[in-house]
């Protein structure tokens, strides 16, 4: 390789730096990035079309599965839109519970991001620590909803589960631990030299560029754009909560890290307020099966940025049109800009710094193949047995060995 010649290196669809399949084709000159070509759409699943073919109630659950991390964001955005069309007044307790889950989700997403960012710059210790702590908030979510990621809390007209007094105590306990740990991470992130070296000055997005390229969420806020849907276009219980919109003027990956860790502290504050001011009363109102004709645009500040849902009803059971704009789609333009004239080594962290979620971004069309008829659904155990049998037929038998191994491992 001569350092003067340019060559193209593929990153993706499958690459260790990317947690989801997307393709970045990078033109390199030595270690320097000369240009990036982004191809999206590998996760296109046809959710928007599928929504049109299902009823509103079914769609709540389908929409929740747009994304694995910000599932509550999508479903809240959707039900808020539908409630707006139907003219439903959601009880205040339900609004607070939605907010509570939303903030817990933000905590879990930001901690996840911090770990991923650590991994992208080769700092696995940070990954291990934050993901350990993330278990606390995952446990809280499981306690409240019964699930770790797709909470299934929302329904049209309210929420499905209540929050009891004991649960509130458990949450407060967990939040206390998390707050201490988060303060420690802020200390680490602002003092550890190698982290600062790898993050500051990387992926610079100036304020006017952020505005011009339409960046959203923490990506924009780290460039000094004071914009947060929770403040500017309040929904759920946010209008009644006291919180700060965190901004930073570093405009680089370091700034985005600072914004996210500080937002964690704001989230803890909001969770405490939600639990303290949780109003009494019902948690849901009855929603009609048929939603009257109308349209609504619903915005939600997901952990990664502004999530926009457009819903149109024609007066039937099924929506006429559902449009989902996930935050990553707005930020992907900014990535191209941020990668200009950077080094290859910066690429993973710059891409990770917008907290990309390509599954959210892609959604849409599935093509039904005729494989549907012969499809067999296997449970995990059945699948395992199937593979064991398959190997035994082919003369490989690990039964004895795996038994021994298991007893050995149990001793550890």
């Amino acid at each position: 390789m001569h350092h003067s010649s340019k060559f193209k290196i593929p990153m993706g669809p499958q690459h260790p730096a990317l947690k989801e399949p997307e393709s970045f084709s990078i033109a390199l000159k030595g270690e320097k990035i000369m240009g990036v070509d982004i191809r999206l759409g590998y996760n296109h699943r046809g959710i928007e079309k599928a929504c049109e073919e299902r009823t509103f109630v079914q769609d709540v659950y389908l929409i929740e599965r747009v994304c694995g991390i910000c599932s509550h964001s999508h479903s809240t955005a959707f039900v808020q839109g539908v409630e707006e069309i139907a003219g439903l007044i959601v009880p205040p307790r339900a609004q607070y519970i939605r907010t509570l889950i939303g903030e817990l989700e933000r905590v879990h997403s930001h901690l996840l991001w911090l770990g991923v960012a650590g991994h992208e710059i080769g700092f696995d210790t940070l990954l291990m620590y934050t993901w350990r702590d993330r278990e606390i908030v995952m446990d809280i979510l499981a306690l409240l909803s019964g699930n770790r990621v797709n909470y299934g809390m929302n329904m049209i007209g309210g929420v499905r589960r209540n929050v009891t007094e004991e649960q509130a105590q458990d949450i407060l306990k967990g939040v206390k631990t998390l707050e201490e740990r988060t303060k420690y991470y802020i200390e680490v992130a602002t003092q550890e030299t190698t982290i600062i070296k790898r993050l500051s000055g990387v992926g610079v997005l100036k304020k006017d560029d952020a505005l011009r390229l339409g960046a959203v969420g923490p990506t924009a806020r780290a460039s000094g754009v004071e914009y947060d849907v929770r403040r500017n276009d309040p929904y759920a219980a946010y209008a009644e909560l006291d919180f700060n919109v965190i901004t930073d003027t570093n405009s680089d990956v370091y700034g985005r890290t600072i914004v996210r860790v500080k937002e964690l502290l704001e989230s803890y504050k909001m969770i405490r307020q939600c639990l303290k001011n949780l109003p009494n009363g019902p948690i849901a109102v009855k929603a009609p099966r048929k939603i009257p004709a109308g349209e609504a645009i619903s915005r939600y500040e997901a952990p990664r940025g502004e999530d926009v849902h457009y819903i149109k009803s024609n007066g039937g059971e099924k929506p006429e049109r559902v449009k989902v704009r996930a935050p990553t789609l707005a930020n992907i333009q900014a990535v191209k800009h941020m990668l200009k004239d950077r080094y290859l080594a910066d690429m993973p962290i710059v891409v990770a710094a917008i907290d990309p979620c390509f599954s959210c971004t892609d959604r849409l069309v599935s093509v039904k193949g005729n494989a549907g008829k012969s499809k067999k659904i296997l449970t995990w155990e059945a699948l395992r047995n199937y593979s064991v049998e398959w190997h035994q037929v082919h003369g490989i038998d690990f039964t004895e060995l795996s038994y021994k191994f298991r007893t050995k491992m149990e001793r550890f």
């Binding site: 390789m1 290196i9 260790p16 080769g122 291990m128 350990r132 550890e192 190698t194 070296k197 550890f412």
Partner: protein, 313 residues
Amino acid sequence: MGLALFTILIFPGFLFVSVFGLMAEFFDRRIYARLQNRVGPPWFQAFADFIKLLGKEDIVPCAANEKMFDFAPLFALTSAVTVFLYIPLWKAPVTFSFNGDIVMMLYLLTIPTLAFFIGGWYSRSLYARLGSVRCVTQLFAYEVPLFMSILSSALLANTWELKEVAAFYLKHPLYSLFNLVGFFVSLIAILGKLEKVPFDIPEAETEIVAGTFTEYSGRRLAILRLTIDVEMVVGAALLVAVFFPFALYFQSVLGFLVAVLEICGVIALLALLRTIVARLRIDQMINFCWKVLVPFSLFQLLLNLILKGKLIL
């Protein structure tokens, strides 16, 4: 003849070093895991990985130069193992040594890195090529402070024979305290040699997949991984022999145990170092080596020259 063959092949040669290397990998990973609040692997994990890799399908990319692709791992392993034979760690019946062996050892330790470069380059994968270039670029950065600090220790002992160096520090143990700067400089430089965080740039997973080793699989990968383990042991042993050769003070078995403990101590230090930092970029790494490590090793050199002047007087 028989004894020499035994020394080369079994103890403290190939077999011993390999087993020690795999155990060291476990030790390193375990400490790394415990520092990260994880459980970590069981003691046989490294062996299990090695055996598993031996049984896996071995693929040679059709664009690769098969001979180079084949020989690179073997070259790397043999040269790393050879170094161990020359390191006087305990009172052994057979030791190979000659005047100037310390320089030869340092050069033998460079061969694995060059072999990685050749293997990666001739596998013709883009990732592997990038990794190879990074590998060699890095070599020029950490090699200088490593050589300077190790040789400045030898300078004080006034010999180029490692056995004599060790004997000198055994006689004047207090002098090894003056070498602490050199020890830490070479400890950090060794991290570059072993391609571990913060200097795992040639195999930075999130950037260039597995870097140099991207196209390697099965047996060849097993050998490459063993090479890195052996390098870790050899590097740690070299540091012990140059800076703290106190195991030679004890009788055979006790001496052996002390030496192993000392080596494990160095490995634990390496694990600690890589727990608390993030990976650097290649330009930052080179800057760090030339602007931080080299001045420190120059300081060590100067200090030892002054000490030596006093010694002669």
